[in-house]
Symmetry: C2
Subunit: 210 residues, 2 copies
């Protein structure tokens, strides 16, 4: 079966360790996965590079991309735009790579709506006690910070059912394998292999007519 | 996450090697999987054992099971009934085992209708040329036999889209791993972990109220 790339959205609780998980997955399977690079209108921070952390573009350029439909999804936070350029994603998918987007729930659902074949993965700690530990931290955070993290986590939890899979991040290496295995399995879904099914059907019909 | 057993239906082209595949999977992971045993009204053949190949029961007993809703699915071929007893399947699922039913497409769709969480797997040779080879055999079959196999294969191919995954049986050991991996991945689906999601939500709400 010809391997076609899968568009994958990864979300998760803050403190779920999804950043580390992504880095590890990509360094372990560089030929399998590509990380989508977002475009943003915010200024680059020290050490950030155009085309590595983000595509840094002007507000004008960003708004032109919106109008032309060149973004898969976008959002505005405070004064800045953040979005996913379509061209880069499609290019990598065509190369047969599975492209990973690390975005939050609202963006995830927009992507799924535009591309129903998108795979939605949600990274979570193994249980609520562990989640609490990661949200509350080491006792050095203010109550305000903790409260705002909790509010955000509640919102994220509300969306969990909309994701296809839960990725339980207990131990990093095990979690990387789990995620890779799930994605590899997804390539075998019938709806992702319509060409293969069509060919089998046609060939059987040909055989019958012989 | 607590592991709940998954009901799995395996179908596939005749000659796809699914019989050998099942045997291998079960012998390799005896604690993970259980094979459902069908009930039938046909007489046992030499070497067959009640409760191993089939549950051999009378027509009267079978019809009582139908009326009482004790069969997940059943069908009648020629003069005999074949069906899947519900009790055995549910018992194994409760033990946390993934229960495998080896049945054809009509039965598969009936099971999926009754139990929407059922996982449908379709075993196929890697391509049509290989399928042809396995259908036509070594040239020792009559044209009638080949024609009837082809007709059956065409019917089966029509149903392929209804299955969740295609299992490509190219090399046996690789195929066993592939199937095991796909099923293991399925355990991480959100809809199979509603209890886990509910607990996380409740615990977060409790934390917020503290």
């Amino acid at each position: 079966m010809k391997r076609k790339g899968i568009l994958i959205v990864v979300s998760g609780f803050s403190g779920s360790g999804k950043g580390t998980l992504m880095k590890r997955l990509l360094s372990q399977y560089p030929d399998t996965y590509a990380l989508s690079i977002s475009a943003t209108t915010r200024a680059p921070r020290k050490g950030e590079e155009h085309g590595r952390e983000y595509f840094f573009i002007s507000k004008d350029e960003f708004e032109k991309m919106i109008v032309k439909g060149e973004l898969i999804e976008y959002a505005r936070y405070v004064e800045n735009y953040y979005g996913t350029p379509r061209v880069y994603v499609e290019q990598k998918l065509d190369e047969g790579k599975d492209v990973i987007l690390e975005i939050e729930i609202q963006g995830a659902l927009k992507v799924k709506q535009a591309f129903p074949d998108t795979l939605l993965l949600f990274v979570t700690p193994p249980n609520a006690a562990e989640l609490e530990k990661r949200l509350v931290g080491r006792g050095t955070e203010t109550m305000d910070v903790i409260r705002s993290r909790l509010d955000r986590a509640c919102e994220e939890a509300e969306g969990m059912d909309s994701y296809d899979y839960l990725i339980v991040n207990d131990e990093l290496e095990a979690c990387v394998s789990q995620m890779h295995e799930i994605i590899r399995g997804e390539h075998h879904r019938s709806f992702r292999n319509e060409v293969f099914i069509k060919e089998i059907k046609e060939d059987l019909e040909k055989l019958k007519r012989r």
